[in-house]
Symmetry: C3
Subunit: 210 residues, 3 copies
């Protein structure tokens, strides 16, 4: 189970680091800014989660694997031939940004739910879902604030709704079907997040606006 | 006493949720952005307070009442006929924004002071006042950062001064007049905050500026 | 040793308060905004550091000396004849901003390393360096976010690199040369930060950018 979570977290870290690094490249930051923004996006959600749950120092600070993965990913994203490739294929870049951001959102949401349950709050569904959503969206909010954009969560598509739905499904499966292995519940929650985000992007779904 | 604090916190949550939701509507966010900004404004100060005092998970995460109140308030603020009513009465809208923001500031300031004292720091007036002010202004700062505005606290009127004065009065009454019931001290502190803010707005008081 | 750290922290607080206050003056904030931004810049890094390490309430909240120093410094920076003097000497102002920001960065970096070691994480070099850098850059990032600028760390010169190099040197001396008095290791780390920042500013060193 620990291995499973570690693998999930590493994929999520890669995904969010890509989305942070691409945002930084768009803003014409230098290589250091790109690494810092990639790192912030990839680790921000988990740090907030651990502070909320009282897990100090947060796991990001105890195990260098997350920071190494986040920075390596940012550097690769920066490499000239990688960038040049995507500059030609603009649609592909936008797709990559959507996929990486959605995958990061989905993974950190379900990992957040699992860690909240492990921290002993499994009977407080409200807390589990709240912490899960904050883990999922936290890194992206920090990315947008630091890049000087209005956070994505406030302006685009059904972003937080996807995270809430995934967290809720994941928690309900944990709680109501304890016989189900936890990784199955987490995968289902992840699929819910991805599906909602893709449907929203595909059909340009938006929520009512004044 | 607990009931008294709960009622105060709910009024403060409503007030700050209104101010967050109106800000979001002005920025043309969708219904989800409105709820998220209302929620952030209403709960941000209390979350920062609890993290500072080492109370984890923060109370906002343990009891769903705050999030339910904040989101319901945001949704009501969004309702077409409510918005249309205020669009016609622009002065009334500005007044509502001033009143809700001031009430939230006053309530969260005195509740912050009380919770810092309850957490065992009643003999450190400096800490009590600092935590109280951070509780009062924290939600509004997060609202403005997320909305892409320069935080209100840095640019307008005697905002933080009102919170500091109220926190100081509240703490001094706690400390010097222990015979006084705590809710009286809190009400006096609240009135101090409201009075200073209204006088400042009424007489366009401003502090010296280079 | 405690006296040494206290003196260092006070110098760092003065330096960062100056950089925060000058930023606020440039943005035409009023005297309160200037004090709040000076205070935020001076105390932000230390508060983040203590929350990460699980030291609650953070030391800034327990001892009023930091807040008194930060606010006094901000007020002095605001004084008309001080401002008028620097308005005439624009190069001197920019130099002062560079020196104060670099000194704050260097001091908070090495103090952050020392406090992480004292908190019992002396065998986890990764954590020590990470916490040290966050302590060094945290206040400046908060200053820039609140002032509505893109954080300095993302756009200018080798800012975070200087902090990382200083933190690394400081930690390696702590770890590999335990015979060396800790204040010597800290001074060496501080000199590394200052040297890198000044060389970068002098030779307009920049990192590659897409």
């Amino acid at each position: 189970m620990e291995i499973f979570i570690l693998i999930l977290e590493i994929i999520g870290t890669v995904a969010f680091a890509i989305s942070g690094a691409i945002t930084a490249i768009k803003k014409r930051m230098d290589i250091f800014g790109i690494c810092v923004l990639g790192l912030t996006t990839a680790t921000g959600g988990g740090i907030i989660r651990d502070l909320i749950l009282g897990i100090t120092p947060p796991s990001t600070f105890r195990d260098p694997v997350y920071i190494i993965v986040a920075i390596s990913t940012s550097v690769v994203t920066f490499l000239p031939f990688v960038r040049r490739y995507f500059e030609k294929k603009h649609t592909l870049l936008e797709l990559l940004l959507l996929v990486s951001d959605s995958a990061g959102l989905g993974i950190f949401t379900v990992v957040g739910a699992k860690i909240a349950v492990d921290a002993g709050f499994g009977d407080n569904g409200f807390l589990v879902v709240f912490v899960a959503v904050l883990t999922g969206v936290g890194g992206g909010v920090m990315r947008d604030v630091f890049a000087g954009d209005r956070p994505y969560i406030f302006v685009k598509h059904v972003y937080a709704s996807a995270s809430i739905a995934g967290a809720l499904v994941c928690f309900l499966l944990f709680y109501l079907v304890p016989a189900l292995p936890e990784y199955v519940s987490m995968l289902v929650g992840f699929v819910v997040v991805m599906t909602i985000r893709f449907l929203a992007a595909r059909f340009r779904l938006n929520l009512p606006r004044p």
